[in-house]
């Protein structure tokens, strides 16, 4: 695009412009744009720099957090809701032993091992609840349904089954769960960073 037409985007230039001094005027314009631009860009750049700070922040690495003891999870195949408690840092505040989320723990009849399911619906991230009458999980937001084992009950808006969490039974009877969160709305179970 020519210089002229570029200017035409902003203003309709006066048709008569003095020939002499045009070069000087061009330099003045260029200098004005550079100086004004630099002055304005400084606070803008500083602003953008700080505004993007959240991209630098990383979630704490997933670790096994104590949730409850085996005695609280009877082997009746019915899931029970437990809070996941952990120290948590929120920007400047450090919280000691705070509930940071919820899991469903379930033990099949006669089984020693415990299954853990994240309470977050894989569809849109709502809190999945137990539907005691129907022996299933139901999400109150868009009615996704899951069996007590976490698999989908068709038809369901959810793209995948409930997210299972790694679960360990410690020697002293404590159940620990590897606390992770996953992207919602996608078919694959992808851990959030």
């Amino acid at each position: 695009m020519s210089k002229q037409s570029a200017k035409n985007l902003l203003v309709r230039l006066p048709t008569t412009e003095a020939e002499p001094g045009q070069r000087r005027a061009f330099l003045a314009k260029a200098a004005a744009i550079v100086c004004g631009g630099l002055a304005t860009l400084t606070p803008l750049a500083a602003g953008v720099w700080m505004f993007l700070d959240p991209l630098r922040r990383r979630a704490a690495t997933a670790s096994f957090l104590p949730v409850t003891t085996t005695t609280s999870v009877p082997d009746d195949g019915v899931p029970r809701q437990f809070a996941v408690v952990s120290d948590r840092i929120d920007a400047w505040t450090g919280f000691a032993a705070e509930p940071i989320g919820a899991v469903y723990l379930c033990r099949q009849q006669g089984a020693a091992e415990v299954q853990a399911l994240s309470a977050t619906c894989p569809h849109a991230g709502c809190f999945v609840q137990i539907e005691a009458d129907e022996n299933c999980f139901r999400c109150p937001c868009h009615n996704s349904k899951f069996t007590f084992a976490g698999s989908m009950v068709a038809p369901s808006p959810s793209p995948r089954a409930m997210d299972a969490l790694e679960c360990r039974l410690e020697k002293n009877g404590t159940i620990t769960v590897k606390w992770e969160t996953f992207y919602t709305g996608v078919a694959g179970k992808v851990t959030r960073p």
Binding site: N8, V11, G36, L52
Partner: protein, 692 residues
């Protein structure tokens, strides 16, 4: 030119051109831009016209930086300081952004003064521009209002106390004062709502009003055209690019100065070979606001210092004086400024206005200078020239009769001396301000160090961190409750003997260390001022034991004494860093040997209970765990307990014991703070900030 023009207009415009045409047809924006840029500047562009533009630029900078700060600021009594700390010390570029916002605010005040001066000198307030001049004055007050409200937002000691003063002054307005004050601070006391309100005023009400006023100000400015400097000798210029270039250069210069102010300390650090800590650049952040902690360094921002100083003129006038100084006089001055366009109609009126403005600025300058001089004169006044006056003041205690007698009734000398006394008092005031300012800086740095702990700030806020910090609270509590008897001075210090002479109880510096114990067991020191010398125990059993028994080399070999020293030091369980200086202090065999000696009922154990040596309590303090946290908390809580001095206790109060229904002198937490401070038990960052 004309051919190319006609050529291009014949050509079908490109895609962008078509788009531009589309929007121009529907909005007419080209005409608007045209009007904005192609304004005639009578007499050509000039540097003196740049001030208005720099102010618009400064405001735009404040708007940009302010909005981004807003995105990370949390207005609440337990989160304001904390979020500002996070912005300043943890977020990328936070220090720079906050620095620009802070320094540009000050630059804006300077630019306001320059703009006002230029307008008055050029007579730009005269018809038909009166309304625009008034608008300008309103804009000035809005900017000052933003400066005042912004000062509080970090909720640090400095802003908190300065704002208390400012809002108390607002309470002096007749009739409505107290209500205005209560509305502004959001209730009867300072807290969450003070912050939410100040934030809303600072970032909402005032800037919104300012933007509206500014639009009117600028459109009126365009309506009347530039008020050209008379007489016009040069040919007219155009706003674009002639004046815009000058404006842009001026704006860039302002920005450069702002950045310079922020980065100057970094340059100094670099030249001195010190590491640069970004969080220490830009705006300062003091210790979190604490209504229970005095803040003697409270001062308004420098551009309000003149008002602060002006109020001192009315000292001694009582409430009416403050009303006069804070409300009436500034009100009259503002009224005079609003009247300038009217006064300027008369022949001499314009000159009067110029004289008035200059006098005002000179007055402000003088008052600011006086305020600074009062605070900082100790830095530049040579005190040695006042040595004679100082001696005389000590001798006469400022009593005029004694002074007259000392100077033989020489009236001229008495007057001269009284002047010097005043100077001395001024220096003393300045010294205490400087000390308070240093203390404030130390407190601020410590608060920031604590907030940077890996555990972060507790949900109850940074103030709790500071209040439970032994390093900063210990010395305060000690000074208040202990130092009237006990010294706390390094014996190696040059002034140690002077301070020890003043003390009437043991020197607690290094209590619990081997060095301290070594001194106690030194016959030359035990009855000295650092130990029992100035107490009721100066001729007690312990003193005679050290001076007589311990000097008997048959029973007490020197290495035995040393073993006792390290064993006792081991009882205190101080941090290894403190005992590391004594290589022997950690030798297990030596400690065991010492313990046996202390425990021995023929030796120390004959009076002192020590672990399970079976010696009954009552004859001397139980030295099990001597110098440990619980032992120190115990003795401070109640030295009259039979575990300690019992009824042989000298003058030491039972700080933690109270009669039923009353409160003890010190709470358990306070006693623990003193103890932790004495023992050097406080948070230390694993890696110092500078090393990071």
């Amino acid at each position: 030119m004309s051919t190319s023009m006609s050529n291009s207009s014949k050509q079908k415009p490109g895609l962008l051109g078509q788009l531009a045409d589309f929007f121009d047809d529907r909005t007419g924006y080209r005409k608007l831009v045209n009007e904005l840029l192609f304004e005639r500047v009578p007499g050509g562009a000039r540097w003196r016209y740049v001030w208005g533009s720099t102010l618009v630029f400064a405001f735009m900078t404040q708007a940009i930086t302010g909005l981004v700060l807003w995105s990370s600021y949390s207005a609440g009594a337990q989160s304001a300081w904390e979020s500002v700390f996070f912005i300043q010390h943890e977020m990328t570029g936070g220090w720079l952004l906050r620095g620009i916002h802070h320094v540009m605010a000050q630059a804006m005040v300077v630019l306001l003064a320059l703009h006002l001066m230029q307008v008055v000198i050029d007579g730009a307030y005269r018809a038909p521009r009166e309304v625009n001049f008034w608008l300008g004055l309103v804009l000035m007050m809005l900017v000052l209002g933003m400066a005042l409200t912004g000062y509080l937002l970090p909720w640090d000691q400095k802003g908190y106390w300065a704002t208390r003063v400012a809002t108390n002054l607002a309470g002096l307005v007749p009739l409505l004062g107290p209500s205005i004050q209560q509305v502004i601070i959001g209730g009867p006391d300072y807290g969450h709502h003070t912050l939410t309100r100040f934030f809303a005023i600072h970032a909402g009400f005032l800037p919104a009003t300012l933007v509206i006023m500014l639009v009117v100000h600028l459109s009126l400015f365009r309506k009347h055209g530039l008020c050209a400097r008379q007489p016009i000798v040069r040919s007219d210029g155009m706003f674009w690019p002639d004046q815009v270039l000058k404006d842009a250069v001026a704006c860039l210069a302002v920005m450069a100065v702002v950045l310079g102010v922020i980065l100057l300390p970094a340059l100094q650090a670099m030249l001195a070979g010190r590491p640069i800590v970004p969080g220490e650049l830009g705006a300062e952040l003091g210790a979190p606001a604490d209504p229970s902690q005095p803040y003697a360094a409270a001062r308004p921002e420098w551009y309000f210092l003149f008002l602060f100083q002006f109020l001192k003129v009315f000292e001694g006038w009582g409430a009416s004086g403050e009303f006069l100084g804070a409300i009436v006089v500034p009100g009259v001055v503002m009224a005079m400024m609003f009247l300038m366009p009217i006064i300027g109609r008369w022949n001499l009126g314009h000159r009067f206005n110029i004289a008035f403005t200059l006098a005002l600025l000179v007055g402000i300058g003088l008052l600011t200078g006086m305020a600074l001089n009062e605070d900082y004169c100790a830095l530049w006044v040579n005190k040695s020239s006042l040595a004679e006056a100082e001696n005389l003041l000590k001798k006469t205690e400022g009593d005029p009769v004694k002074l007259s007698a000392a100077l033989g009734g020489n009236q001229a000398q008495i007057i001269a001396m009284q002047k010097q006394f005043k100077k001395l008092e001024a220096i003393r005031n300045s010294e205490s301000f400087l000390a308070a300012a240093t203390q404030a800086q130390m407190d601020g740095e410590r608060a920031i160090e604590l907030a940077g702990r890996p555990e972060r700030i507790p949900p109850s806020g940074a103030l709790e961190l500071v209040r439970s910090d032994a390093k900063s609270q210990g010395p305060r509590l000690f000074a208040q409750h202990c130092s009237s008897c006990h010294a706390y001075v390094d014996p190696q210090d040059a002034k140690a003997s002077e301070q020890l002479a003043k003390a009437s109880a043991a020197n607690l510096y290094g209590f619990g260390t081997a060095a301290w114990m070594r001194g106690l067991l030194d016959p030359a020191e035990v009855a000295g001022p650092a130990y029992f010398g100035n107490t009721a125990h100066s001729d007690d059993d312990m003193v005679s034991f050290v001076t007589q028994d311990l000097t008997d080399r048959d029973t007490w070999k020197l290495e035995d004494i040393e073993a006792v020293v390290v064993a006792m030091s081991a009882e205190s369980g101080l941090r290894p860093q403190q005992t590391a200086a004594d290589a022997k202090a950690t030798e297990a065999a030596l400690i065991a040997k010492g313990r046996a000696l202390v425990s021995d009922v023929e030796r120390c154990g004959s009076c002192h209970t020590f672990h399970d040596n079976g010696t009954k309590l009552g004859s001397a303090p139980d030295i099990t765990g001597w110098g440990s946290r619980s032992w120190l908390v115990g003795i401070i809580t109640d030295p009259t307990h039979k575990q300690f001095y019992g009824d042989t206790n000298d003058r030491m109060p039972s700080f933690g014991k109270a009669d039923p229904g009353s409160v003890p002198i010190l709470s358990t937490q306070q006693i623990e703070l003193v103890v932790d401070w004495l023992r050097g038990d406080w948070y230390r960052p694993a890696v110092s900030k500078a090393a990071r």
